[in-house]
Structure formats: C-alpha cells, structure tokens
Amino acid sequence: MGGGVGVSTTSVLGGVVKRREDPALIRGTGLYVDDLQLPGMLHVAFVRSPYAHARVVSVDASDAEAMDGVRAVYTAADVAHLGDLVTQVAVGKLRPLLAGDKVNHLGEAVAMVVADSRYGARDAADAVDVEYDPLDPVIDLKEAASDAALVHEDMESNVLLAWEGGPWGDEEAIAATQQTIADAKGRDDTVSVSIEAVNQRLLPMPMEPRSVVADWNVGYGRFTVHSSTQIAHALAGGIAQTFGLSLTDVRCIAPEVGGGFGCKLNVYNDEILVCFASQQLGRPVKFTETRRDAAGSTIHGRGWVATATITGTGDGQILGYELDGIADMGAYSQNFTVAIPFLGLFVGAGQYSFPTHWKVACVHTHTMTTDAYRGAGRPEAAYYLERAIDAYAREIGVDPAEVRRKNFIPADQFPGAATHIGFPMDTGDYETNLDALLETAGYEDLKAERDRLRAEGRLVGLGLATYVEVCGFGPSALVDLGFSWAAYKIPSGFSGSGLVRVQADGTASVIIGTGPTGQGHQTTWAQIVSNQLGIPVENIRVSHGDTAESPLGIGTFGSRSAAVDGSATYEAANKVRAKAADLAAHLLEASADDIVFADGGAHVAGSPDQQVSWSDIATLAYQPHRLPEGMEGGLEAHAVFSPGNATWPFGSHLALVEVDGDTGDVKLLRYIAMDDCGNVINPMIVDGQIHGGLAQGIGQAMFEDGDYEADGNLLKWSFVEYPLPTSADLPSFELHRTVTPTDINPLGVKGIGEAGTIGSAQTVVNAVVDALSPLGVTHVDMPLRPKRVWAAIQAAKTNGSVS
C-alpha cells in the first residue's frame, strides 16, 4: 500500500460549509418519526399515575376494551415476563415496564392502550379505571437522604451511593485532603465562605417530542423500529436483549431527530412496549409523546442541593474547596442515572489546583428519573464551584478574575496535568483564555461602566465564570469502570467507528454509527472526508441512524461524536486514500509515494496535467480483473477509533445584567464567551452549538424550574408553566475562541455540544448577585424569575434596615 502519500488538497477543515442537511429541513421534507404512516399502523396512549406514590388497588379496562377501534389494553401482568427496563448502570431500583402494585412517581405508566387512531387511543386511556390508595411521597432531598421514609420499601436506604474524592478511590488520600483543608480552616489568616444552593431540576424539552414506531415482521422474525433516539444501536440491542433476539433481528432507524440534549440518550419503556404490542397484534404500532407525557415521563436533569465552601487567604490564594451535596435520582434508575454526578466529580475542581473534597450522594425520591441533560453533572459541578469562588472573592474584596487567575492549574503543567481525583487531562491554557476574554470584553471598562451606573442607583452587575469540561467520551477503557453498554448487547465501551466508500462514479458514501440531533453530522463528516480525499463536499453523502447499515456507534452525547466517531471516519478516509494512491499509481504507471490528490482526482507530483479522476480510480477498483496481482477490488474502508482519554475543553464567560429594583426583572444586556474546544472543523456549526448551549444554561439561570411540589405534584405540564427562553428573552451572543488542540485524537477536536451550557448558568447568577451586592444580597437561587429576585431585594432591604 502507498505509504507517504502526498500532502492533501485545499483544507476544508476549519472552513464554513453551509449545512448539507438544511435543504430538506427548510422545505419540510425531512422525515421525523411521527411523520411515518405505515399500513395498518396502530396508536398507543398510556394511562398514567396522577399520584407521586400510591398502591394500585385495581385496574379496570373493561370499558376501554369495549370501545370501537380499541385493539388491546395491557397492564403490568401482561409484560412481567419481559422484566424491568433494560438499564446500563443498574444501580438502584430499575423501572418496571408498567407499574404493578405501586406507582412511584407522577406520570408513571400503569396501562397501555392500543387503538386504531391517535384520538381513539387517547379516549380509551381516559376510560381505563384505576383505583389508587395514595401514600405519602418522599420528595425533599434532605428528607430522602435521611431515610426517614423509604421510597422503595424493599430497599434498605434511599441513598444509592456517594461519589467522593479526593484522589481516585483512595480513602487515605481523601482523608489527607480533608485534613489539609481542615488545617487551612484552622489558620488565623484564612476565611471560609459557604453557599448552600439549589441546582434545580430541569426538563430537557427538545422541540420534537419522543416518538417510536415498532413493526414486527413475523415472517422474518425481525423488528424494524423507528425511534427519535440518540442511541439507535443501544436501542436495537436493548430490544434484542429484552425479547431474546440477536442484534441482527432488530433494525433501529433514527431518522431526523428533533433535538435530544440527553433525554433521547435512554432506552425507554415505551420503546420496549410498542415492540411488545406490535408482536402481539401483528401490526405496526406508534407512540408519540404529548408534551404532557414528555414533562412527566421523559427523563429530567439536574436536581441537586449542595453546600459549597471555599477556604483561602485574604489575598485570594484558595487553600481548599469542599462540596457536600445530594443529587436526586428520581424513583428509578435508567441508562446513566447514578453516573451523572460522577461526571461532575471529574471536573469538581474546574480549572484550579487547590485541594478539593467533593462528595455528592445519589438518592431515590418519588419523582421522574433524572439522567443526562445537556452538560449532565458538569453544569452542576461548575455552578457550585464558580458561585463559591465569587462569594469568596466578594468576601475578601479581591477582583473575581484575579482570584481565578491566582488559582489556575498553570499552562506549563500540561501535558501531564490531572484533575483533583487524579484523572489525566489532555491540554489546557486557562490563563491565556481568561486574559483573552477580559481583553476582548474590555473588562476594566465594563467594571467602570457598572460602577458609574451603580452610583446612579441602578442595579447593574458583571458576572464571570470559568469552566473545564470533560467530554469526547472515551476513553475506551471506561468499560473497565462498568460503562460498557453490555446491557444493550453492544459492549464496545466508548470507541467510535466510521465507514468510507468511494462509489464507482467517484462520489463518496460515508456511513457512521452515531447520528445527529441537530449537530450537522452530514456536513462535518463530509468536511472530514473531503479534507482527506479531495472529493468535494457536495459529492459526499453521509448516512447515519440505521443500525442495519451503519457500523457500531454508541451515540451522539457527551460532546463526543466528532472527537471519537469523527476521528474514526478520518482514519477510514486515510485507509481509502492509501488504497486509492495504489490504484492511481497503477493507472498513471507511477509509484504510490508520488501520487498527489488534488482538484477532485490524483496525479503524479509535478505532472498535474496528467490527472485521473476519482471516477477513474474507483472504476478500476470495481473492475478487479484489471488490478495488479494481489490487490483486492473495492474502494472502501472501516475504522474504529479507540480514544485514550476523554477530552477537556474549557472557557470563560462574562455577563452584564441589569435588575429592575421595583419588579425584580433581570435584563441580560451582554453575554460574552471565550471558549476553547480545540480545533474547529466548521466555525459556523461550532458557534451554533455554543449559542444553543448558552440558551439552555441561561434558561436554567433565569426561567426554567422543573422541581416538584412538596406533595409530589409536577405543575410543569406545558410550556406555560415551564417557560423555555424565547427570542425576546435573550440577547445576541458575543462569541470568541482560543484554540488549544487536544492530543487525544488526530483531528485535535475536543467537542462543543455542552460547553455553552456548562459555562453559563453561574455566569448569569454571579452577575445578578453582583448587581444586588450593594444591597447586601449574597445569594439567590435559580431560576432568577422576577418574583424571586424581588423577594431577595425586599429581604435585603428589610435586613439592612434592621441591622
């Protein structure tokens, strides 16, 4: 094979390419799952619990079953043989497919109705008569952690485990760190500042509700399942596992998926149940969530209470950071549930080098399961850390930027730097990034402007925060820590794959194991392959989401797809390129080492006038009788990329806000971000990812609140009660970047899907607290809706007048 193939054509990495997927989406011809209409297709509606905790006394479906067009009503007993919902990290109580003698959260499915029409299924679900005996729910996190009452009577404790560190798993080292921090607290030249804060539960709410269509073909003995999922391969494996089938007996297709943000990174009970119904009834069966279903029965995110404490000297040298928290797992564990705070543990000390003791207990409550929502553990960790650092900076009267700079892991510790739990990090240069933000934003001028307006009596604030993220999962060796995907029959760990095929006409098909939920894979992957082969982007078609044709990929989540599966595709393209060089060399009667790819084909270095096209090269590949002896026909390659580590993007953000002192209304005036995600493949797409991430972090800071009422009710059934940020709520964002490539993958990319969210909530809250600090306010819990901010102002004024 040709080794040192000549240097590539014009690079399309780092350039803006308009998205290949957009023409269908802007014309309304993209296919989402609910658009599917299969012959004979039946529709599902669920009967759901109106109680957070109750015994199910009886389920009477006789009226429903008698209704026109109703094909079946299934209850727990009908599906008991299928077991609990297949779950990767099986710690805690696993979800039954349908609730049996007890319901454990509002919205839990008790019965499934299958009918001829969408409306008919809904009518019949309303006609199912369920008698409940309500029980007291466990909702409050501290109460849950105390085990005063058990969520599941057959478990010994509501506390499933606590993530704690200290250096990795080393109890002596944890104790030593605690002693170091205690010693620092004992010094008379230090101060300790604590904040107890709620990181409220959030509802992911992608604009496309989840939808699934299952079609059992009894002749082939095979399921074809269309689902709005981020993890098509895991879903196929989960169905296979549940029904005792092989991976080839289940074909899952994720067509256009209308956003996910982590909530489609789960195998759901409804996905299993429609398969069951299709098998029973011999017809295709569809379930599409209503928004109400989505609110109560699709996973939630966040849901922590914690106290964060910084101990440091009066001049800003931090000597210890402690986090003591409780994280809400909900009533049942699903895919990653208890692992989410684990991701926070990784980045518990952020960009800093101070001793850190971090402990978060995972508890069951009578609420919907929590799992991965954009950022997943890392926004919570960054929130507490950056809020506490700000509080400490305010207490000692040192500029918050200066405090951060003093405590960074220095750039010269890379490579070789490690997190507070001893996990190695790839690359980082935090001070350069922060300095770039401050200079670009005109930090000193902004502070002067804030102070000038403040002198006029206006409540103006500046908020700063930094973050380091762990993403691009990898490493493959996470398998050895139990994150193997084996529960879904795909024990591949966190590797990725790509397949590149040059067709006989010189165009290229790229088939990847992961699929997008809006990230633009069809464009980014075409750029990667175009860059390696010189085939124009418009001649490259990227396919994804069909497990019958795509190589194994575990999914798009954790900002990992480009870093891992993109790198695999890069390597597959290089294999194709090497073979194409041999083929071109044969056509041009030259040495493969002398072949240069350029202008949509190849030539011998120095002889660009004698060019062979990709069509010429591929045609030769598909006429094997013309090939030199020993060379195989075909022109395609598959590669698996095994990342040696996760990646560690970072950044710093600045917000300027004004608070209306009379109403508590917060106006976000400017938002300036300096992110570093390593190399950038398509700046337009990367910026778009940051925009959306910011909106979700700002959404948490200012608008969104998915917390349950004390009685276990969830009064968040629609966008009226659960307000997403609207266009009128947000400013245009000011984005900038530094570029510190990773050495973990050949593309040098780290991932950007979650960074905006991880960096932003605390930036906004720090700004609002700064705005209110002249009144003596040191903390306001999210979301910063007017009523809550107004109350904080009033309380501060009252306290101020008393003291």
Binding site: V12, G15, M207, G518, M684, H691
Partner: protein, 167 residues
C-alpha cells in the same frame, strides 16, 4: 364532517371528525408532514401555517374552521421550487439545527416580514416570540430573518459573522 379548503394552491376535500385539529388534517389526511406538532397547548409554534394571509398555529384551529380557507404550509413556500428568501436566509445563516421548529419558525418569519419589511433586531425577537426553538438560542434565527429582510428589499444582506472559509 365534510371540509374543503385550498392547501398550497391545490383543492383538498375530505371528511374529518369534528374535533380533528387542522394540523392533523394537514399531516395525517393530506400527508403534509412538514408542519410539526411540538406541544399540546398552542404555545411552541412548530405548527404555524399561513391561513388567508395570516399566520396561525394550526393546532389551535379545528380543521372544520378552515372550511374554504387558503392555507400555505412549509411545503408550499418555495414557489416553483425556488427557495423563499426566508428559507434561503435560514440556510445561509445557520438558522436551524435539528430542524423541528424550523417550518413553523419560517412561516412566522414570513408573516413578520409581510407586516414589517425592515424590522429591527428587537422587532424580530418580539415578532418571533410565539415560536420556541431549543437548539439555536435564536441568535442565528435573527440573523436569518435579517438576511431575508434585506433580500426582500432588494438589498445586499449583512455579511455573516463568521469568516468565510476556504470551502
């Protein structure tokens, strides 16, 4: 019940249950699945269509209320196959990611620009307040509408914020 209306220039005649929503008539009877359903409460705007010249949320109307109406959906927006300037703007300025809110967002933007050909950023933001997007933070949606407004006025659209790459 019998209902007849014009959709994207073609006459449609069908029988529906009285309670059938217009969006379900469009999607499930007429197969025009570009119009999406994103909520149950007429809040998200994914189902926005243009009915007799006005933007409406088609999940808010019964199909029978559209009797005799002239409806344009996303599929009917590209006249003779050429993209409408708003569609072009969304493509040129990366105004969409997952694409689910996009048809409704585009129809609302078309409505907005028919009322106000030179909207300020603030007017665009308030004009699209009834359409939710979870992906873009609206930043590039605003840029897309600014692009379309300029094109519809016959002017050169504002330059993109990113540096034009080599590709």
């Amino acid at each position: 019940m019998h209902v007849s209306l014009t959709v994207n220039g073609q006459r449609a005649v069908t029988d529906v249950e009285p309670r059938t929503l217009l969006v379900h008539l469009l999607r499930e009877e007429l197969g025009l699945t570009g119009t999406h359903v994103g909520c149950d409460t007429s809040y998200c705007g994914a189902c926005t269509v243009i009915l007799d010249g006005k933007t409406v949320k088609s999940c808010t109307m019964l199909a029978v209320q559209a009797q005799g109406a002239d409806v344009t959906t996303i599929e009917g927006l590209a006249a003779n196959g050429d993209l409408h300037p708003v569609q072009e703007g969304f493509w040129e300025r990366h105004g969409l990611q997952c694409g689910f809110c996009t048809p409704g967002m585009i129809m609302s933007a078309v409505g907005l620009l028919s009322d106000n050909g030179s909207p300020s950023e603030d007017e665009i933001r308030h004009g699209l307040e009834g359409n939710l997007c979870r992906c873009t933070g609206y930043h590039n949606i605003v840029r897309a509408v600014e692009y379309a407004a300029a094109k519809m006025r016959g002017e050169e659209p504002p330059a993109p914020e990113w540096e034009e790459g080599s590709a």
